[in-house]
């Protein structure tokens, strides 16, 4: 079962799918965008993560298309996946809030 905190690739994949169904290559480019090019998922990593997420019921198949004679399969977030991402966002937000507050106390910027 997927446990919190989510590992970064998992978090980014779920975030990429939060915008709507995407295919494998779409997720890869989106993850690179979201992370400012810091995380570049390769196909092996992406599909191992997707396989686990599908097994855990956080992500499911959406539809298939044939584009330029190549199969393209779309994945989407399940309600459980959205809930999991929301929990992770809440968890991160609460820790970053505390960190920001403490930084302000010692006179850091903001």
């Amino acid at each position: 079962m997927t446990e919190l905190p989510l590992r970064e690739p998992t978090f980014l994949i779920l975030t990429a799918l939060a915008v709507g169904p995407q295919h494998g290559y779409g997720i890869m480019t989106d993850v690179a965008q979201i992370s400012d090019g810091r995380v570049r998922l390769r196909a092996g990593t992406l599909y191992a993560a997707l396989n686990r997420l599908v097994n855990d019921g956080l992500v499911e198949f959406d539809r298939e298309e044939i584009v330029d004679a190549r199969l393209r399969r779309y994945y989407r977030l399940t309600p459980e996946g959205a809930r999991c991402l929301q929990q992770e966002v809440d968890r991160m937000r609460s820790t970053t809030t505390v960190a920001a507050r403490r930084l302000r106390l010692i006179g850091g910027t903001q």
Partner: protein, 407 residues
């Protein structure tokens, strides 16, 4: 014309004043994401346009969102002008994808290939090292992930067979190993085991009996199984300690028995796994064939008598030939090879020679002879791996041949 392109065209043929449906908005959003994936939109533009598309009331609004984007799907801009080395690249990727389980490949091979080919840098003729390592590691991860469908025969069925064959192997190897000293004791020859004969026999057969009991009783709860396994292991170790005490020090015979300790422990661990994850003894009995059982008996006897790595290599090839045709057979082979493995790491004299030259296991490991043995173990591992790869390639070839007519 692609599915995506067609829907878009159909959309544009509609009157702009018509009201858009949820499906229309979703289609427009999907097109936007495709264009984003192709790099025509950045993340901010995508978010902005998605919001517009999802709030659109009419076709006119949807068309405005898509107005400055080409009609065809994003992968359409390079229709059928694949340079010849793309074919080579594709073959390279297919070879790497052969590492994935067959059931997984049936669903994902074409899809992953599409992603790999799109992501490959222009002009690359073969998969990069990083990509190759990532794919192989991904295959390992996918193989280790539990499947949601328990009907997946990859792991569980071979374990059911193992839970039957493993006690058989251990029984036979133990019986053969005990036979020599037992004969000597009955003949009245001096033997380190003379004074502790009953204890020794009890010790030797604890392992196999425990293995059989685990597979027959198959305790329902994991905690029970774990407790039983640990207790058996501890009992075995206690016997060894007692024997070693009675023998009054590191007697060669006792030492050789201690060397057999890891073997029993390994077998216990494997049996525990087999009993935990297998679909049960009944399923195992359905699956196991006479050929498998006979070959297992022959292999166990040969290994126990000679304890010679090359014998094991030959046997592994025979077993491989028997299991080549299915992934189930290959898993069975690997699982059964685990408890046979320690024999490779133990000197030949372990079974047939009770000579005084055999000292503590550790001393032996330090000796130059150990290096030779290590080399042989490596050769054996290479034989195993080679057989495995050949089997995987054959299977992938066959599955592709099967898939071709349907395409």
């Amino acid at each position: 014309m692609t599915g995506a392109g067609r829907t878009q065209k159909a959309g544009r043929a509609m009157d702009d004043r018509f009201r858009a449906s949820d499906a229309d908005r979703d289609r427009a959003a999907a097109l936007l994401r495709d264009h984003f994936a192709a790099g025509r939109l950045d993340a901010a533009e995508l978010d902005e346009r998605l919001a517009m598309a999802l709030n659109a009331k009419t076709f006119g609004e949807l068309h405005r969102v898509l107005a400055d984007l080409p009609e065809a799907g994003p992968a359409q801009q390079q229709p059928n002008r694949l340079p010849p080395d793309r074919g080579r690249l594709e073959r390279g990727y297919r070879c790497l994808l052969a590492c994935y389980p067959a059931a997984y490949r049936r669903v994902h091979e074409e899809e992953m290939l599409a992603v790999l080919m799109t992501a490959a840098p222009h002009g690359s003729r073969r998969p990069g090292i990083g990509e190759a390592v990532d794919l192989i590691w991904g295959a390992v991860r996918v193989r280790c992930q539990p499947s949601r469908r328990s009907a997946e025969p990859g792991w569980r069925d071979p374990l059911a067979v193992v839970s039957i064959l493993l006690p058989l192997i251990v029984f036979i190897t133990t019986a053969v190993r005990v036979a020599g000293p037992l004969h000597a004791i009955l003949d009245g020859a001096p033997s380190p085991f003379r004074d502790m004969f009953p204890l020794w026999i009890l010790n030797q057969f604890t392992g196999p009996v425990a293995l059989l009991a685990l597979s027959l009783l198959r305790p329902q709860r994991f905690a029970t199984r774990a407790t039983v396994t640990v207790l058996i292991g501890l009992t075995y170790l206690a016997y060894l300690a007692t024997l070693s005490y009675l023998a009054g020090g590191p007697d060669p015979g006792v030492v050789s028995m201690i060397a057999g300790g890891p073997y029993i422990m390994l077998a216990l661990g494997l049996q525990m796994a087999a009993v935990t994850a297998s679909p049960g003894l009944r399923r195992g009995l359905q699956l196991v064939t006479w050929k498998q059982a006979a070959l297992t008996v022959i292999a166990a006897v040969a290994v126990a008598i000679t304890s010679y790595p090359w014998t094991l290599a030959v046997i592994s090839v025979i077993c491989a030939a028997m299991g080549l045709t299915s992934s189930r057979g290959r898993w069975l082979l690997v699982l059964l090879a685990i408890p046979l493995g320690p024999y490779v790491a133990v000197p030949y004299t372990y079974v047939i020679g009770w000579g005084p030259h055999m000292r503590l296991y550790v001393t032996w490991l330090m000796s130059p002879g150990a290096l030779g043995q290590l080399g042989q173990a490596c050769v054996l591992a290479a034989v195993f791996l080679g057989v495995f790869v050949v089997a995987a390639c054959r299977e992938s070839l066959r599955s592709r041949q099967l898939a071709r007519p349907s395409r």
